[in-house]
Symmetry: C2
Subunit: 449 residues, 2 copies
């Protein structure tokens, strides 16, 4: 009899898990349930649709449920909520009472934008940025709006601030921490990004949590610190919390970072034991750091794909492992690209790691080659082992490959000295300096050891 | 007494060696001799000046001899040929008979364009591409020229072909091998590059060495296979051979690839023994492969800088090592970027390595994001160890970082399976696909194992 594989969630993790299970087992019955009405789109694209760089929301949807049915024999049920999971009976219960049997289950319910517990968050005009429909609502409300407050100066908050500014709105970003891109970026590097946003007319109120949202039946402003900022729209870019509803209901172990603890095979634990025939992937799990023993969150689309692949292969009876992560990310914020990998100083402090840093400023092309853009690279190493543990880059172009390059060194435990001696860079005047700025940042780090 | 350090050669290797020696020893007397009249420029920039992308030759010269004297206390003697080296007496003799004492010597004489031994190569109108003055001569002769033949379809030949085509010339490339970018690229990937050049109107005659250059007092055409191609200019892009004049005169050991064999400290051998107080760097040396035990050539500007640094530090009494190389390179050929690292199939054959390959075609951005450009990635692994040994990329943008990224995996001996499981990619729709094309190429490789 064909194996019955059920998948809950239609984000990058769920869709990849279903496809990977299909690749592994051409016979299995694969059924996917999602509360969303669209599948196979990247939430990371939402700010760029709002900005107008991508023409519409329809174009970011890569495939329809029909496509999955026809091309991959995956049954996709949209607008369908799973309300109960009985692991012993291997039974799902849907919101309409239907029971579904499974042999193995993949749980990829994702996360939800954290809603700060302040007055007025339920007023019309307050939007999270998570689902495609959030984006559609923001876009359709935009004509009536002059001023927007974005709560949260992380990368999504900044991308949204840029998008809305580009649409001609007055934009104020309110951030609880003293710097933009907290946790992922250091203050000196975050300042470069904030300055770029400010040069485009975006205002920042730092070190102050959103106090309240005010308005009579609709948003009219916010309170922050002792100030009031009038606005007609509030964007919540306040971070993503794992959707633990089903995990709690099943009784899965939740790790210290507030996400489900999983093995390298993406299986959860219950009462101290590995759970069979259940696999998790995506924003709902914590994973292991490639840098230090211990858990970390890797709430990235690219991580969801990698985790989904492992969950799907294993759920289909194959075997794959998800190793420790350095979680490289990149974001495009106006005219600058912002990338990071591994630990910032802030995260290193949290994990009790003492760091030595190096920094270099240069160009993305040879100095005499027209069109080159500034590039600033910061690298961090562990002060005792000299192993590279993190990097942050702000530059006008070609940040992504550089971040992946340093990420490769981090996951391989390469020391700053070894990177300096042995990590070569490709060179051609239109696309790099003869010694890349990454290499120069590492040189600076080694000089500081 | 201050240490006397002499440097021969003003390319990337020589200039970096002198500067690194200065950083290591602030007291040393550092003197550099070069036959060139300009120092501190990148020959890699020459085609882009001719193409008109860089405004003039003056702008590619980063520093003058005066700058080195003032800023780094390095005495630079241009238009000065060293004709004798007496290692026992630690004495150099210049072309004018002057004797110079040294305590340690750095030899970085570079290479010379191979001149094919055919009729007519001395005719006016035949130019190598190596020195700044070669570029100036080509540029000043260009007005009188309608048709050009470029001998050699390596990256420099193709860059020159593009440059001259961009200047409105009829361009024919003649290549002895059956494919463009021989040795460094495989035939399938080279075909993409050749097709792009052909789409711009460049003609190719493959599998045929240049037979003769014909003309009465100046170039009027070339003979290749049974054909004659009329032209008024011939560009020799026929590869670079080490300048062994001084090395042979000293009696240094020449390795099997026709370059000076050096230790990881960049010291040569003579009669089976390591030579003291002599360091080499740049196109004149062979180095060790990071992939297999054995020598390889790494005739790249970025390699010259790395080697020069090690030679300079060691010549100044410090200690640094030059580890095995994977030699990442990148070139911009019209609208495509072409990058490679490690071994091609052709090189693998030469070294007796059996390979398994993977390939993927995708985009540089999310499929729905405007402005994305095609990206083709090929990766090669050793069939017995599954270690990655090479990669080739052709794409419209962001090739450099990807090549460095794979290069990092190659020098660390990472297997295809480990790369698949553990090498993460940063993602944002404007700058990458959610699973990078590099990762997809490795997936394909693993499926082929």
């Amino acid at each position: 009899m064909a194996k019955r594989i059920a998948v809950i969630g239609s984000g990058a993790a769920g869709m990849t898990a279903a496809s990977s299970a299909r690749e592994k087992d051409s016979e299995a019955e694969i059924t996917l349930f999602t509360e969303d009405e669209h599948v196979a789109y990247s939430p990371c694209a939402i700010p760029f649709v709002i900005e107008g760089r991508i023409k519409d929301f329809r174009s970011i949807v890569m495939h329809t449920p029909e496509w999955y049915r026809k091309e991959r024999r995956i049954e996709v049920h949209v607008r369908t909520k799973v309300i109960r999971v009985d692991l012993e009976a291997k039974l799902l219960t849907l919101h309409d009472g239907t029971n579904i049997n499974f042999d193995s289950l993949i749980l990829a319910p994702g996360g939800t934008v954290f809603v700060p517990p302040v007055e007025g968050v339920k007023l019309p005009g307050v939007y999270p940025v998570r689902w495609l429909k959030d984006g559609e609502k923001i876009l359709s409300a935009l004509d009536e709006v002059q001023s927007v407050v974005v709560a949260g100066a992380g990368v999504i908050g900044l991308e949204m601030a840029i998008a809305l500014r580009h649409r001609g709105k007055q934009v104020t970003v309110v951030e609880m921490f003293d710097q933009a891109i907290p946790r992922l970026f250091d203050e000196d590097m975050a300042r470069l990004v904030q300055a770029h946003c400010e040069s485009l007319g975006i205002k920042f109120i730092m070190g102050s949590p959103l106090g309240a949202i005010i308005g009579n039946g609709m948003v009219e402003g916010i309170k922050v610190a002792a100030k009031e900022v009038p606005c007609q729209m509030v964007i919540l870019a306040t971070g993503v919390r794992p959707n633990l509803e089903l995990a709690n209901h099943i009784g899965l172990e939740i790790g210290p970072l507030g996400a489900v603890r999983v093995s390298a095979s993406m299986q959860p634990y219950r009462k101290g034991r590995l759970v069979k025939d259940l696999y998790l992937a995506g924003d709902v799990v914590s994973c292991e750091s490639a840098i230090l023993p211990g858990p970390t969150l890797s709430q990235l689309g690219s991580s969801a794909v990698r985790q989904g692949r492992v969950a799907g292969i294993n759920a289909a009876g194959g075997y794959a492992q998800y190793p420790g992560v350095a979680s490289p990310f990149v974001s495009v914020i106006g005219e600058v690209q912002v990338g990071g990998v591994g630990m910032s100083r802030g995260l290193a402090d949290y994990y009790g790691v003492k760091v030595v840093e190096g920094k270099a400023h240069g160009m993305t092309r040879a100095r005499y080659y027209p069109g080159g853009k500034p590039l600033t690279v910061k690298v961090l190493a562990d002060a005792s082992t000299h192993k590279l543990i993190g990097a942050q880059i702000v530059g006008g172009e070609e940040v992504t490959g550089r971040i992946n390059w340093i990420g490769a060194a981090i996951v391989k435990g390469v020391t700053a000295e070894e990177f300096q001696a042995g990590f070569e860079n490709a060179y051609c005047p239109p696309v790099s300096m003869v010694r890349d700025v990454v290499n120069e940042a590492v040189d600076d780090l080694v000089a500081n050891l």
